[in-house]
């Protein structure tokens, strides 16, 4: 194997299972590729590496690729997992007086700026008839947000799995609303433009590997949880809850998914999170790239 695929992964997700099983290596070997795996603490960092050409392929949530595209990163949407709206939510402490999203008016909500829950919060407020300006956003990365949440510094916390599940189980946090009916919450598989354009068979082999692992995971949530738990450092029951809410069926990015993604981009533009509007469909695999 004289060609290399550089894959970026995060601790929590299908790629960790894939890596453990060696499926990808087996599928790419005949095509003359070897695989190097690189772990990243989050989607933005993963795409940062992809942007400067240090990575060929990776997986993130829905928000990071929008910022990467806005920054001109040479990325392509290759595929996505189905919607998993239950995998993100707005939580409140168990004894909180807040009963509905509308009660958030004038309250402090912790969230990771520019993440999928940022979009969720906007949508949830919209639905409850509140303006974004009616709440005070407190931007914190998950670990810090949890500390603030526990400490009572914030009234609510918009968060995704597995942090969401962990807060539900260990802090007995109450769900104000999940993403259901508000957002779709996809996972995206993203490739570097030149790599995707020049290595079609390899990309297809990667997708085939993901399909294989998805199929396995769907039927073996318990075992998947047991396998991931030591690496992630999250108790098995928590992980099981998180994984059970996840959708497992990788598919090419459809026009509908692209359109949803476009809505997120437009919302972020309205929030001035990105400086200029962008067209998601320009960087979807198969759409001329």
């Amino acid at each position: 194997a004289d060609k290399v695929v550089r894959v970026g992964y995060q601790k929590y997700g299908t790629f960790l299972l894939l890596k453990a099983r060696g499926i990808l290596e087996r599928k790419l070997e005949p095509l003359g590729y070897s695989v190097t795996w690189t772990e990243f603490p989050g989607g933005p960092q993963l795409l940062e590496a992809l942007n400067v050409g240090a990575l060929d392929f990776g997986v993130t949530g829905e928000a990071p690729p929008i910022f990467a595209q806005a920054a001109g990163a040479p990325l392509v949407y290759v595929a996505n997992e189905p919607a998993a709206p239950l995998s993100e939510a707005i939580l409140v402490p168990k004894d909180s007086p807040l009963k509905s999203v509308a009660d958030l008016k004038g309250r402090k909500v912790a969230l990771n700026k520019g993440s999928n829950v940022h979009y969720l919060l906007v949508k949830a407020l919209e639905k409850a008839g509140l303006a974004y300006g009616d709440i005070t956003p407190v931007f914190l990365p998950p670990a810090d947000a949890r500390a603030a949440f526990q400490h009572g510094d914030v009234d609510a916390w918009a968060i995704w799995d597995p942090f969401q599940a962990s807060a539900e189980v260990t802090l007995e946090a109450r769900t104000l609303t999940s993403g259901e009916g508000l957002v779709s919450n996809h996972q995206f598989y993203l490739g570097e433009q030149a790599f995707v354009a020049g290595n079609g068979p390899a990309v297809d082999a990667i997708l085939a590997s993901i399909r294989e692992i998805d199929a396995w995971a769907k039927g073996n949530v318990d075992q998947a949880a047991a396998e991931l738990a030591p690496a992630v450092g999250i108790p098995v029951p928590v992980l099981k809850l998180a994984l059970s809410r996840q959708a497992w069926d990788v598919q090419p990015v459809s026009a509908a998914v692209a359109a949803e993604q476009q809505k997120i981009a437009d919302t972020f533009h309205d929030l001035k999170l990105i400086p200029k509007p962008l067209k998601v469909e320009d960087v979807v695999r198969g759409n001329g790239s």
Partner: protein
């Protein structure tokens, strides 16, 4: 090598300006792609933009406020502990080793604890800056106090100077050059810690601005942040130099450095 007969103020800028020009040329000729590293002119544009819409001034003002509070508290604590441990053996035995251990704990790692203790408000940020400034000031003050000429201390005691007079007239001036090194370092760390501190629920400040831009891959803004940090470093340097000049006039090496420009 040809003697440099340019004034200090100019010589100091030769290297940074050369680097900047080289970078611009490399960017303009396409040697580095603008996507991965925007040209200085692009950064200048971001600069002008941030200046004109007031975000930059506000960011610097907010960060400066936090930085100065942390500097005041951390600097005084570090100085006090340095003097205490430098002069009083039991304190040194009891505290120094613990301080050396605490010093080694990364700010990034203790952020959850800091939030638990201080919440997500300004206190937490100022606390982190305090920690950042404390240790270099402590270490250098301690070293400065320890290495004071014991002959001069003996003299002061024999000439009837009480502890306070000894401190003001012998220990402090003797340790000052070293304390300034600590201050110099502390002034730098003050800004560096702030970038960590401003990941705690900040919505303003240059650390926040830079990290936010990094998250969203606005490389031109990140570079602008880096330049601002560099300029703040230059500013700290100018301030410390002025302080040294004012207080170390008696010191052969400090006095000389000001008088002989080449």
């Amino acid at each position: 090598m040809a003697p440099l007969s340019v004034p200090r103020g100019v010589a100091a800028w030769i290297l940074p300006v050369t680097l900047l020009v080289a970078w611009e040329i490399a960017a303009d000729t396409g040697l580095i792609s603008a996507r991965t590293l925007p040209a200085p002119s692009a950064v200048a544009l971001a600069f002008r933009q941030a200046l004109s819409d007031g975000t930059l001034v506000q960011a610097v003002a907010v960060s400066t406020g936090r930085a100065l509070q942390g500097l005041a508290i951390g600097g005084l604590l570090g100085f006090g502990l340095g003097v205490l441990n430098g002069l009083w053996k039991p304190a040194e035995l009891l505290l120094d080793s613990t301080l050396q251990m605490l010093r080694n704990v990364p700010h990034l790692a203790i952020i959850p604890l800091v939030i638990l203790w201080f919440g997500i408000g300004e206190t937490a940020k100022v606390f982190l800056v305090t920690l950042g400034v404390l240790f270099p000031v402590y270490l250098n003050t301690y070293h400065g106090v320890r290495t004071i000429d014991p002959g001069l201390l003996e003299m002061a005691r024999v000439y009837g100077l009480g502890p306070f007079a000894r401190f003001v007239r012998v220990i402090l001036p003797g340790a000052l050059p070293s304390i300034f090194v600590g201050l110099r370092y502390g002034l730098g760390l003050m800004w560096l810690t702030l970038i960590v501190a401003e990941t705690i629920s900040a919505s303003s400040g240059i650390g926040y601005m830079t990290m936010n831009a990094r998250e969203f891959m606005q490389i031109d803004v990140v570079l602008m942040g880096i330049l601002i940090y560099a300029l703040l470093g230059k500013l700290s340097d100018v301030i410390t130099r002025a302080l040294e000049h004012a207080t170390l006039a008696w010191h052969p090496s400090y006095a000389a450095s000001q008088e002989t420009p080449a």
